[in-house]
Amino acid sequence: MKNLKMKVARMEKGLSQIELAAKVGVTRQTIGMIEAGDYNPTLNLCISICRELDKTLDDLFWEGA
C-alpha cells in the first residue's frame, strides 16, 4: 500500500527524496520504495524519518491515523 502520508509530510517540509534520504542515511531508492509501499522499513528507519519530518510514527505509519 502506498504511503502517501509520508510523501505529503516530506513535501510539506520542502524536502526532495534525495535530501530526505541523505538526512536519514539511506538511498533515494529506499525512500521511493517506502513511499510506493514496496518496502517495509525497520522501526529504526521509521523513527529517523519521523524525526526528520517532525511527525510521529502514528502520523506516518499507522493506517487508521
Binding site: G25, V26, T27, Q29, M33, Y39, N44
Partner: protein, 154 residues
Amino acid sequence: MKRYLDERQQQEMSRTGTAGFYVIFFLCAVSVIVQLVFLGSGFADVAGETAALLGGGLIYLVRGIRHGLFLTAGRQPGIKESALYSVILSGIFSVLFCIALRGKARPGAAVEPYVGIFFLGMAILCFAVTLILGVCSNYMKARRERQYDEESGS
C-alpha cells in the same frame, strides 16, 4: 566505519547471497555425486568441491544452531522426523553407493553386504547427528528465551 549499503540494500544482498549459496551448494553436491558415481573419479578429484561443501555447510549449521534455528520443513524435527529423514537420505545415497560399487567391482561380485552396511551406518550416523543438532539448537533457543524473558528483567 562508513556504511555503503542501507538497510534495504543489505536485506536484498542477504537474500541474494542466500539464493547464491543454495545454488552453489546444490551444484557442488551434484558435481561430486556425478563425478564419483557415474564418471569413476576418485576422492582426490572432488576434494575441492567437497571442501567447499563442508565449509559452507558447517558455517550454515553452526550459525543456525547458535540462533536456535535448526529446522526441517519450517519446524524443529522430532525423533520420528529425524528417523524418517535419515532412512530416506541413507536410502538415496545407498543406491548411489551401489551404482558406484557396481561400476568399480569385478563382474558378479557381491556388493549387497557392503551396501547394506553403508545404509545402516549412514542411517545411524544421520539420525544421531540430526538428534544432536536438534538438541543443541533447542538448548540455544531455550537459553535465548531465558535471556530475553521479561520476568528476568532483560
